[in-house]
Subunit: 126 residues, 2 copies
């Protein structure tokens, strides 16, 4: 029984959850090659829709995602990764989770503090 | 600051998480109308990609998702809903979560027991 990569143009949705705290850290997308790389290496690998290539999460920052468990949903077009996040944060904007903005009275408000400096990790923006 | 509905052809990815246990229950998709309906009614409403229409989760089963909190990610093309799931299960196949299959040695195995009978809720398949 395989994943359904056809439903969304070759991609499945990948939800990443901290295996210890249960916090949802990010959502990415995987083509079949990215999914296979994730399973084979044990580190979450996505397909970057903007850069159109495989993307080993943490390749630049070192903030890799060590995969502890993978589940799939009923129609097999999404996977859920339970991970141990290596490093201070998953989000390239400097937060522990990419989901750092909360809807409050119709507006998105930053609801937490950064956990690291993106500039220190990724360098100055060009 | 609005959600980015353009990136994926008018849809954002919506991850649904149990607000009390942290369990990820399902992944759906929302167009702008579905997102607005979710915020206005307080019940999760998706856009069904297969039926091409709005889909109030629990419309048939009564298993609605009462939304407690909504967050969005850094690039605003995904939302995370913290919900109270009304009813015994979110998955139309009879499970508490749609993510009931776990990858074990390269095969997807059903990793838990159903929590209700889909036939009792949805009737016999035609």
């Amino acid at each position: 029984m395989n994943l359904d990569f056809e439903k969304s143009g070759g991609l499945v949705t990948a939800v990443v959850q901290d295996h210890a705290t249960g916090r949802v850290l990010m959502v990415g997308y995987m083509n079949e090659e990215a999914f296979r790389a994730t399973v084979e290496t044990g580190f979450a690998t996505f397909y970057s829709r903007s850069r159109r290539k495989l993307w080993l999460k943490g390749e630049t920052s070192g903030h890799r995602l060590l995969v502890k468990q993978i589940t799939t949903d009923c129609d097999r077009d999404a996977v859920l990764l339970q991970v141990e996040a290596l490093g201070p944060g998953v989000c390239h904007e400097g937060y522990a989770s990419c989901f750092f903005r909360r809807l409050e009275n119709g507006e998105w408000k930053i609801a937490e503090s950064p956990t690291y400096s993106p500039r220190a990790v990724y360098g100055d923006p060009a």
